[in-house]
């Protein structure tokens, strides 16, 4: 059976993050510009790492799928997993980032920047729980070429 290039299945292992970029380039490299693909790769990488870390609590042997779709106005990645549901409202808006003034490094956290990166890379983030499945949609609108 020939694998569907518009879907990828990943195991809950951080090494699997490195399959996302090559898959995206193969699936949409002919359709999207390099910077859009880089943004989608970064957003999807953050989202999958989040799923492994939180929805699956770091447990190996679980499954995550990513599907890519086009609707004439843009491109959407749909990530699905069967882990614990995300906290209510987690994906509703971009978290506040540090203020502009210089920051004391000692006060910085080493984690917690993934959501800001996701929101910075895509135009729309939507999450829904459907039965036992988490569904996260990351969408970018088609960008005019200069």
């Amino acid at each position: 059976m020939i694998p569907d290039p518009r879907t990828i299945e990943l195991a809950s292992d951080y090494a699997e993050l490195r399959r996302i970029g090559p898959w995206l380039r193969e699936a949409v490299g002919h359709r999207l510009g390099q910077s859009v693909i880089e943004d989608l790769e970064l957003a999807a990488t953050e989202a999958v790492a989040n799923i492994i870390r939180h929805a699956y609590a770091g447990l190996p042997g679980r499954r995550i799928t990513i599907e890519i779709t086009f609707d004439g106005t843009g491109t959407e990645l749909v990530l699905r997993d069967q882990g614990e549901p995300a906290p209510r409202g987690l994906f509703d808006q971009a978290p506040a980032v540090q203020a502009d003034e210089p920051v004391d490094p000692a006060s910085l956290s080493e984690s917690g920047r993934g959501l800001a990166i996701i929101h910075g890379c895509v135009d729309e983030v939507r999450y829904a729980r459907r039965g036992a499945t988490n569904e996260l949609r990351l969408a970018v609108r088609d960008r005019a070429t200069p």
Binding site: L42, T45, A49, A106, S111, A116
Partner: protein, 113 residues
């Protein structure tokens, strides 16, 4: 993963040898940096010219290294490629780290301090 390439006037340049710094290798990177810092390399230029992808886990490991150096020295980043620069800007970490276009300018700045 991490190779010292230059040591001069108390400043050490480390080159990050992989193309990605992400959740898969961030823990190892953090350990290697901690070892280097604890062995006395506290004025470090990290050459990231070969890196084309950094995620929030990689960023977290860099923040960990910056905190470990603390007031004992400096950690400067050099030669960030555009996709990596974008991650720093999105998270405002470009305002936290000393970032230089190349290792020479980073070394020049650290030698002054």
């Amino acid at each position: 993963m991490l190779e010292p390439t230059v040591r001069t006037q108390g400043v050490t340049v480390y080159r990050f040898m992989e193309a990605r710094l992400d959740a898969a290798n961030a823990p190892t990177f953090k350990d290697r940096m901690a070892r280097a810092i604890d062995q006395g390399d506290v004025r470090i230029v990290l050459d990231m010219g070969g890196v084309d992808f950094v995620d929030s886990s990689g960023l977290g490991a860099l923040v960990g290294a910056l905190k470990r150096v603390g007031s004992r020295g400096d950690l400067a980043l050099a030669s960030l490629r555009p996709p990596v620069q974008k991650v720093f800007k999105l998270t405002r970490m470009d305002r936290v780290f000393q970032i230089f276009p190349d290792t020479d300018s980073a070394m020049g700045r650290l030698k002054e301090t």
